[in-house]
Symmetry: C3
Subunit: 345 residues, 3 copies
Amino acid sequence: MVKYLNPLLLAIPVSIFVHLSGHSPVLLFFTACLSIIPLSGYMGKATEEIAIYVGPRVGGLLNATFGNAAELIITIFALKAGLLEVVKASITGSIIGNLLLVLGLSMLLGGFKYKRQSFNRAAAGMHTSMLLMAVTGLIIPAVFLNTHSNPAAEPLSLGVAGILMLVYILSLVFSLHTHKDVFRPSQECSDSPSWSKAQSLAVLLIATFFVVIESEFLVESIDPVVKALGISELFIGVIVIPIIGNAAEHSTSVLMAMKNKMDISLEIAIGSSTQIALFVAPLLVFLGYFMGQPLDLLFTGYELIVIIMGTVITAIISMDGRSNWLEGAQLLAAYSIMALAFLFV
Amino acid sequence: MVKYLNPLLLAIPVSIFVHLSGHSPVLLFFTACLSIIPLSGYMGKATEEIAIYVGPRVGGLLNATFGNAAELIITIFALKAGLLEVVKASITGSIIGNLLLVLGLSMLLGGFKYKRQSFNRAAAGMHTSMLLMAVTGLIIPAVFLNTHSNPAAEPLSLGVAGILMLVYILSLVFSLHTHKDVFRPSQECSDSPSWSKAQSLAVLLIATFFVVIESEFLVESIDPVVKALGISELFIGVIVIPIIGNAAEHSTSVLMAMKNKMDISLEIAIGSSTQIALFVAPLLVFLGYFMGQPLDLLFTGYELIVIIMGTVITAIISMDGRSNWLEGAQLLAAYSIMALAFLFV
Amino acid sequence: MVKYLNPLLLAIPVSIFVHLSGHSPVLLFFTACLSIIPLSGYMGKATEEIAIYVGPRVGGLLNATFGNAAELIITIFALKAGLLEVVKASITGSIIGNLLLVLGLSMLLGGFKYKRQSFNRAAAGMHTSMLLMAVTGLIIPAVFLNTHSNPAAEPLSLGVAGILMLVYILSLVFSLHTHKDVFRPSQECSDSPSWSKAQSLAVLLIATFFVVIESEFLVESIDPVVKALGISELFIGVIVIPIIGNAAEHSTSVLMAMKNKMDISLEIAIGSSTQIALFVAPLLVFLGYFMGQPLDLLFTGYELIVIIMGTVITAIISMDGRSNWLEGAQLLAAYSIMALAFLFV
């Protein structure tokens, strides 16, 4: 959690005031977005603190499960509101945001400070192949059933979600039990707790409470914002929600790169994308099923393309165990080109 | 060849009896399937034995050419019966079956026994790039001519088949002549013969004779089975035929993984897929041309996708020279998701 | 520059005579094609000589910018004549020609002389990931806007061209300034100049003058050649123009491979493809905009496929740092299959 995000907390009272006044949904949207950035940071920090108290195994499980909690809360509200395309777009956007934007910024800023940075190729390779497999499973339904009113979409999506979730559980068994020596999750930044157990729990509860409120503000203002500003729901889902939901985590990745700890940087970026594909997406499919908002995994052609390209580029970039500022700039260029294309769709 | 497959030989007399009685094509289908599993095993074992007698060069040629003999016989009968979609589906299914199912099972079961398994990265890389190129050539006609009634499909498919076959011959020259030191084909399991020359020839002839009979039973019962069970021809072609046609070879790959000989395991799985693309598929195109059953290489979009994904996943997985049980589980999950999708197509 | 290309210079007077006589556009087309081969070689050689005189930094910039000058001139004339599909096809053809044809020939002929050839994996990996990113950016507009009359095609293409050009400038900063120790451009063949400064300039001017004339001949005879010979504009753009525009450079790559200098060979082939994507293509988009011939980056589905496949194959092949004649043969087979497919489209 980065301290200079604290001023953004001022957006909370403003958003509540704007909400109560009932005017200007555009302002409500922007203040809700701004306030979620530090809140998700506090949720992450509190989870990490609690993880230290409960020991490595349960702690690892906590970190793995709640790593994308803020984004999960936003998408659950979007799901409840029936904004299924926004939900799918935000899954896409989270994956490429982590891979291209976060990794790109990390390699660029890290590369400005250190001429050459290196990381463990074996670990990066393992994270990448896990990501690749997760992404493959995620996009299979869309590839096979490419019309949006296919009657088989729901059962196939549920079946695929089940298999993905099973792989997620197996990967937890792998990383927390049978091969726990391979993964050393971010010890560098969290060896000893800086908050007491009670403090951590209180922060987690309060931050979650406000994230819930701001997510509701955000989701209810999407429709008027789309009408007022002329940007598409797709753009909000692909670009805006993933950035605000992950901003705090992203800044950790960039900070680690600037401390020349590229291994942690890559683990955050690639691991977070994998978790979206193996855990968040299947969970949303199940929740949608029980909430009567049947979310299928039929991504659009554009979404498929950016997911595939983002994954392949990351695989190639991380294969040689080295990075420099130009690779960072190239990842950011790829992200910019894709974001630009989503504006024109 | 694995001895515990022997009981399945009992399916041979049952299938002949069911065939003669003329009842229950569904039972005929299942008994024919079951009997082909050990028979293809005996064909493979006999070929290997003969290969030892005739010396490394001709022997290597024999092993390379008859490695997929059982499956080739089944698909020739399907070709003769005009089941062109089944033939193309079984080419697809063999490639992904070898890459995802066999390699997945090998890495999973091998990984249960050995925490980490490793293999020669350079050899794996060479096999993988050969596979990639073979697959690229194979799918080009479908990518260029994406309608199934394209008049250019036949000449283009014949031309591509010719180039693929030429590459196959060149790859034999490479592995048996100019670079024979690089490839050491499965010496580990076949240093000294266990059968006499006459025994080997007799086993080969008898096994081939029965594979021919059972293939005829299998192909003639596909149509009634499709109607009776409600599964599609595509599913039989993609999932069922490749599994029974390669089951014996597959069990060898898994056994080698459990003996921690991952190099042989990978060579069988990747090499077998490459052979399907470079040798079996072009041969079927030529045979179809002469049999008046013009088989083009216009795979469906679904088939293209699974071929491409299966190949890319294998390339990424085998690039780091290591494997563990989770990678095996991930490959199996990818196979399950694809098989599930073929059920819903 | 290879001396045995000199006899082709005789095609210049013949082409001028054929042009003046006004007969036989087919002969004009062939003589123009033949004469461009040695001319582009002299342009390249003269540029390299001048580069030595002006010092490494400006020289590197010169080599990087004018490396594809002959092809750029041909495509500018095609652009002026409104042959937008030919221009896009030649961008595609240059990329796969460099990757599959040139690299294939280099690995094949080099591999005949040396059983195993090796090259620096790290450098190859860096070139490959740069190529991959360049290609990704290039094809994004086509992937997002897949109809040829999309009103957003022009603004998106201009935006993407701007980002690609920016990455090109950044990559020059990287290779000529911040990381100049990593790249050692072809010193092996150009340590000391063989021509005087004045000679080099004169050769450059004269060769460029004739390339301009022959390019005009070539472009004006495309239409009658298409009608007379029954081959498509697409085929001329994808296969013919890239081969003649790059033949001289290609022969250098092959010669280097035959001297066992695979690093230079790969640098030429992959670097030239990257330059097409990052510099030539965006430049043509900008020129088209100012010339009133709006060139968008909406490549056809076929073009997308061959660009993607050519890039991925090269990435996989160059990943292990080794090559042999079979890999060369496989690249050539992939090129032949694609060329064959373009004949049937």
